[in-house]
């Protein structure tokens, strides 16, 4: 390592003397371009935050009677924030076990050729536009879910999630969550797969040498090694599910209520879907209230990402 650094330093000195002690224009251009790009990203983020805050202020200071539905801003946004988090959590709960299983199959179970093509197909899922997922959800998955919803309500209605009555169209939070799960599956499984396949060979072989079965080897060496990757992948997926709009708008029968019941015709509305639904016909303060809800969504996404980083940095220390 040190020898290498020495060589590069020497090479740099030689180069520097050859160009008369000055950095080459290529270096300067690259340096400046990189700095500008870095600053631009920060400026962009700050710009979005400033826009959201500035345009939210009229809604924050407005009289309750002038706001949508005559509710306070908190009463207006809270059910929407609940819907956002519920939809994303349902998606992650369904997607993560599936994604881990897919990643393990690709990295440790499937024969190499099958693994490669399967990995390609899973990645392809990420390339499908969300509106196509939405159309598939409303035309295919929704109707197909109707008998399943009936079954869930008939057998499991003691669980609050399946309290019913079952929707007759299948356009429920559970259906929307399933579609969101499919949408985030590629991200979660790609991150997990990448790290699973980097599990040190000695750990795996050690476990096998001690008489572990393949499943025990995966449980004892691969899963602990990939734990932080699974968590960070899940958080990335959660971030996408929080902001997903079009698929939810099309699939979900949104009512804006607060309920954990995932199988009925009345469902909570996520913030992003609510903005898409209400913005086109809104004017004046209603728009400010929608932007304020956008600011809350921005905040939720920020917090999720920060928590993800916290978890990852902690597990790295271990």
């Amino acid at each position: 390592m040190e020898a290498h650094t020495d060589t590069t330093t020497q090479a740099g000195q030689i180069l520097a003397s050859a160009t008369g002690g000055r950095r080459r224009p290529g270096d300067r251009i690259f340096n400046n371009a990189a700095v500008i790009a870095g600053v631009a990203v920060l400026a962009l983020l700050a710009g979005v935050a400033i826009f959201l805050v500035a345009d939210s202020i009229p809604a924050v200071t407005a009289k309750t009677a002038d706001l949508p539905d005559g509710k306070t801003l908190v009463d207006y946004i809270a059910p929407l924030a609940f819907g956002t988090i519920l939809a994303a959590v349902v998606a992650v709960v369904i997607a993560v076990p599936l994604a881990v299983a897919v990643a393990l199959f690709i990295s440790h179970v499937a024969p190499r050729r099958l693994a490669l093509s399967l990995a390609y197909v899973v990645d392809l899922l990420a390339a499908i536009p969300s509106i196509v997922y939405g159309l598939w959800g409303i035309f295919v998955l929704g109707p197909a879910m109707v008998p399943i919803l009936d079954w869930l309500v008939a057998r499991l209605s003691w669980i609050p999630f399946f309290a019913g009555p079952a929707s007759v169209t299948g356009r429920t939070m559970l259906t929307a969550g399933l579609v969101l799960a499919l949408m985030i599956l590629p991200i979660v499984s790609a991150v997990a797969r990448e790290v699973f396949s980097q599990t040190p060979r000695r750990l795996e072989e050690g476990a096998l040498a001690l008489g572990a079965t393949r499943w025990e080897m995966i449980r004892m060496s691969v899963l602990p090694f990939g734990k932080s990757a699974v968590i960070s992948g899940s958080m990335l997926g959660l971030g996408r599910a929080l902001g997903e709009t079009m698929a939810v708008v099309i699939i979900l029968s949104a009512s804006g209520i607060v309920t954990f019941n995932l199988v009925s015709q009345e469902n909570p509305t996520p913030i992003a879907a609510n903005i898409a639904l209400k913005f086109p016909e809104s004017s004046g303060l209603d728009v400010n209230a929608l932007i304020a809800s956008g600011l809350v969504l921005f905040g939720i996404t920020l917090v999720v990402n920060m928590i993800a980083r916290l978890i990852i940095s902690r597990s790295d220390v271990q």
Partner: protein, 361 residues
């Protein structure tokens, strides 16, 4: 949403292009009017506006009209703000807060506010109930169904409206729009006016209840009604497709939606004097409680807003010619073909004409 943004950007691109081409097209005034005119507003009018702009531009080779379907509220806002938006389309007339500002915009350009009804569309109560083809509904029954007070199709109230019909005990799933819309506004206005004892909510573009199934935009609502058995919803009659369409009780008979019924109903509607100041502002309150079987009371009405004079005289000429074409029988027929709307009736047309004649005069 995506589609909306696409439209906005496409429309602004068109605007930019035509603004650049404007100078050259001005001297080509041999065939009618020329130049560019921009409007914005109601998405309910979009299909009709597309037909109007296409035909109008065909007749006036130098003219370019752009209509940006950003929504009624946005259209009214842009009109008030002035700028490039010379006219607006809206599913509701200016309200008492907006009116003075709109009048101010026009007086700032040396003219008066013009607000004329130009688009009528019958709304149908659509349902999906196999085996029941000829559903009839009184306003109170409809209101109770959508309020969730009637929950099965064999309810005595529905039976009373449909003597002799074989109604199943299927659960009723009422479907409403999840987005804010002029369709919802007009449907809730009907429920509010025709069944005030049951529907105690005011007319509202946002569905006032948290119960029932919902679908995004007309296509989402229709899909939801198709997807489940026992569903019922409301949409433009032209979008009903092969779904069942209910007859609505008017007086002592049941009336199916039709263009004639909607036109006739609006033709006997009365003006809202508080919202109709000046000579050319015609804010009507749609008649929902007619007892004449010629009338079909569930309809959406949309308005055109403009000024009698603009500081840019080219705008004045274009608005006059374009509005004139829209309310002409040619224009109304083009909209009926393209958007499935109903033509405005003779009384409304004559009144609209006085306002259009005053433009530039």
């Amino acid at each position: 949403m995506n589609r909306k943004w696409w439209l906005v950007s496409a429309a602004s691109a068109v605007l930019a292009l035509t603004a650049a081409a404007c100078g050259s097209s001005n001297d080509n005034s041999s065939s009618g009017v020329s130049g560019t005119l921009a409007g914005a507003g109601s998405s309910a009018q979009q299909a009709a506006q597309e037909a109007w702009t296409a035909k109008f531009e065909g007749q006036n080779s130098g003219a370019t009209i752009s209509y940006d379907a950003i929504g009624s509220g946005g259209g009214r806002d842009q009109f008030i703000a002035g700028g490039k938006t010379a006219f607006a389309g809206s599913d509701a007339p200016f309200d008492s807060e907006e009116l003075p500002k709109a009048q101010q915009r026009c007086s700032g350009e040396g003219g008066e506010l013009v607000e004329i009804p130009n688009y009528i569309s019958p709304l149908a109560i659509v349902y999906n109930l196999p085996g029941v083809d000829n559903l009839q509904l009184a306003p109170e029954t409809t209101a109770k169904i959508f309020k969730g007070e009637i929950t099965t199709w064999d309810d005595p109230a529905i039976k009373a409206d449909n003597p002799g019909a074989n109604l199943p005990s299927t659960k009723i799933t009422p479907v409403h729009r999840s987005d804010e819309s002029g369709t919802t506004f007009n449907f809730t206005d009907y429920l509010h006016e025709a069944a005030p004892s049951v529907w105690t909510f005011d007319a509202d573009g946002n569905w006032p209840l948290k119960t029932g199934e919902s679908g995004a935009q007309t296509s989402g609502l229709i899909q939801a009604v198709k997807a489940g058995e026992g569903t019922i919803g409301y949409a433009d009659e032209s979008q009903a497709g092969d779904l069942g369409v209910a007859k609505v009780k008017v007086g002592s008979t049941y009336v199916a939606p039709s263009a004639e019924g909607a036109s006739h109903d609006f033709d006997i509607s009365k003006k809202d004097p508080a919202l109709s100041p000046g000579k050319y502002v015609f804010a009507y309150k749609v008649e929902r409680t007619s007892t004449d079987p010629q009338d079909y009371p569930i309809l959406l009405v949309s308005w055109l807003m403009g000024c009698t004079k603009y500081s840019d005289s080219n705008n004045t000429d274009l608005v006059k010619a374009y509005f004139n074409y829209i309310i002409s029988s040619d224009g109304q027929q083009a909209a009926a073909q393209n958007a499935g709307s109903a033509p405005i009736g003779p009384t409304i047309k004559n009144e609209d004409q006085t306002a259009v004649d005053a433009i530039g005069g």
